[in-house]
């Protein structure tokens, strides 16, 4: 099993995104919405050890109607 080191950020493809807002519903700790309903994503990496956040990020990726989200792993800074 891989050790849970490093972090992740949620990334959105802004061209695909149509502002459905599902990601905000599914991962409220990672995604806020602006006044037009488009996602504002937390830019600082969340540690992979935070399993709750990782799970909701996965829900957001799978729940996005435009498939505009992906999880990017960030290697731990030494």
């Amino acid at each position: 099993m891989r050790r849970k080191v490093g972090g992740f950020v949620l990334r959105v493809n802004p061209i695909l995104c149509d502002g459905f807002g599902h990601c905000h519903e599914l991962a409220p700790e990672l995604v806020k919405v602006d006044e037009w309903g488009y996602p504002i994503i937390v830019t600082t990496p969340t540690p992979l050890a935070d399993l709750g956040a990782l799970e909701s990020a996965r829900y957001a990726v799978r729940g996005c109607p435009r498939q505009a989200l992906n999880i990017e792993r960030i290697a731990e800074q030494l």
């Binding site: 493809n13 061209i15 695909l16 602006d34 037009w36 309903g37 488009y38 504002i40």
Partner: protein, 425 residues
């Protein structure tokens, strides 16, 4: 050979008509070929002249390291900025120098095709380039094949991913590029995109070498640059100046107002600079700390009697209209910013609330588009809020300056095009 410390360089021999190939070979005759172009390019320290000032050598080395038989070299002469005329001036005086540079770069990266992209709204320049390519075709063909492309003119069409997407798929729309460095492709082939002025400088470096190139400019930003000067000037001009010249001497050489209120540096997605900083050298290293940029070599001078807020509002409104409307934050956010600015200039019921909303919206939109278009606008608006602070205070107290009621404007601006009439293909 042109002496190393004289100007003009890229505009050498310019006479109002483009130089023919024979005249070009005569004007830029070289005595001895310096070392390989790649080494010379690295030693020259040339940075891109299209706005980002990225080292040209590193960009070329990245594409060179890719393995492909279908590499492309793209010369970007789209010139989306309405205040810029440098690529146009360059291509209608020394088109062969740009083509020289493109051929050098193509040979470095191993490209078989060179695409020169000129906006189709500029038929004279298209004609000059066509003619220059034809002159070269009549000689024995060596190296890469030259093609002319004429995408539609749009502000964002000159953005490199939009340009590559146009060549690939006939649509001038910026693309989402996750991860850096990102290699753009036409079909399967990696693409190197360089501005026309950068290519002209590469042409000079390939002919005369890095040491000659460093004869002008500063240690960090060597060479010369083309400056498009407009606004409160006798006549909008394109000047070639060594990097590191003071702003004051650039303005006086261009016949501009020497006691301006502010200068817009870099372009419409650039930064406002207050008129007190005229003695700053014109390099990114010196301008950066005081909140300005060389950008695409654009200077728009605003006189004391003008209202900076009105000019900012006009730019923001036009830029909002030029958005490709692909990403939500840009498509909805920029018109909202333009609307806030227009309320600030023309008055509304609760001005302090409008001001706060504007600041908040600027912060929210930044970095959330596929390209840098929204970032440029918010950056420009934020710098305006800083530079025109006093004026804005008066506007907030519902006592706007006289300039805001004047019908005279200084920043050059094409007419707003209705959205359904815009051509992207």
């Amino acid at each position: 050979m042109i002496p190393a410390n004289t100007l003009p360089r890229v505009l050498h021999g310019a006479s109002g008509r483009p130089l023919t190939l024979e005249q070009h070979e005569e004007a830029f005759a070289m005595t001895a070929r310096p070392g390989t172009v790649m080494d010379q390019l690295e030693a020259s320290g040339l940075t891109g002249r299209g706005g980002a000032a990225f080292p040209t050598y590193r960009k070329a080395a990245l594409i060179r390291s890719q393995r492909s038989h279908h590499k492309y070299m793209v010369v970007n002469a789209m010139e989306g900025e309405p205040a810029a005329h440098k690529d146009q001036t360059l291509l209608s005086s020394n088109p062969h120098l740009v083509l020289d540079g493109a051929e050098f770069l193509a040979s470095i990266i191993g490209a078989k095709n060179i695409a020169i992209c000129v906006a189709r709204d500029n038929p004279m320049v298209v004609h000059h380039v066509e003619r220059a390519i034809h002159e070269r075709d009549r000689r024995s063909q060596r190296g890469a094949k030259l093609e002319l492309h004429a995408p539609p003119w749009r502000y964002v069409a000159g953005e490199e991913s939009a340009l590559v997407h146009w060549l690939d798929d006939n649509e001038s729309l910026p693309q989402y590029r996750p991860g850096r460095p990102h290699i753009m492709r036409i079909g399967n082939g990696p693409v190197l995109v360089d501005n026309a002025e950068t290519c002209a400088n590469v042409g000079l470096i390939g002919r005369f070498g890095a040491e000659w190139f460093r004869g002008l400019g500063t240690q960090e930003s060597p060479g010369s640059t083309l400056v498009s000067l407009s606004g409160a000037v006798n006549r909008p001009t394109v000047l070639e100046v060594p990097l590191g010249t003071s702003l004051r001497s650039i303005l006086s050489a261009g016949g501009a107002d020497l006691d301006p209120q502010a200068i817009l540096t870099g372009g419409y997605g650039g930064l406002w600079l207050s008129g007190d900083h005229l003695d700053t050298p014109y390099t990114n290293q010196a301008l950066g700390p005081i909140g300005a940029t060389v950008g695409a070599g654009i200077l728009v001078v605003i006189p004391k009697e003008a209202c900076g807020l009105v000019e900012t509002q006009r730019i923001a409104r036009w830029m909002a209209n030029e958005s490709a409307r692909q990403c939500g934050p840009c498509a909805f956010g920029l018109p909202a910013i333009a609307e806030d600015l227009s309320q600030l200039t023309h008055g509304s019921r609760n001005l302090p609330a409008v001001y706060e909303r504007l600041v908040e919206r600027c912060g929210v939109i930044e970095g959330r588009g596929a390209c840098r278009h929204p970032d440029g606008v918010t950056r420009m608006v934020k710098s305006a809020l800083k530079v025109f602070e006093h004026d804005i205070e008066n506007h907030l107290r519902a006592a706007p300056c006289a300039g805001s009621r004047s019908s005279q404007h200084w920043v050059p601006m094409p007419a707003l095009e209705p959205e359904d009439e815009m051509v992207w293909e």
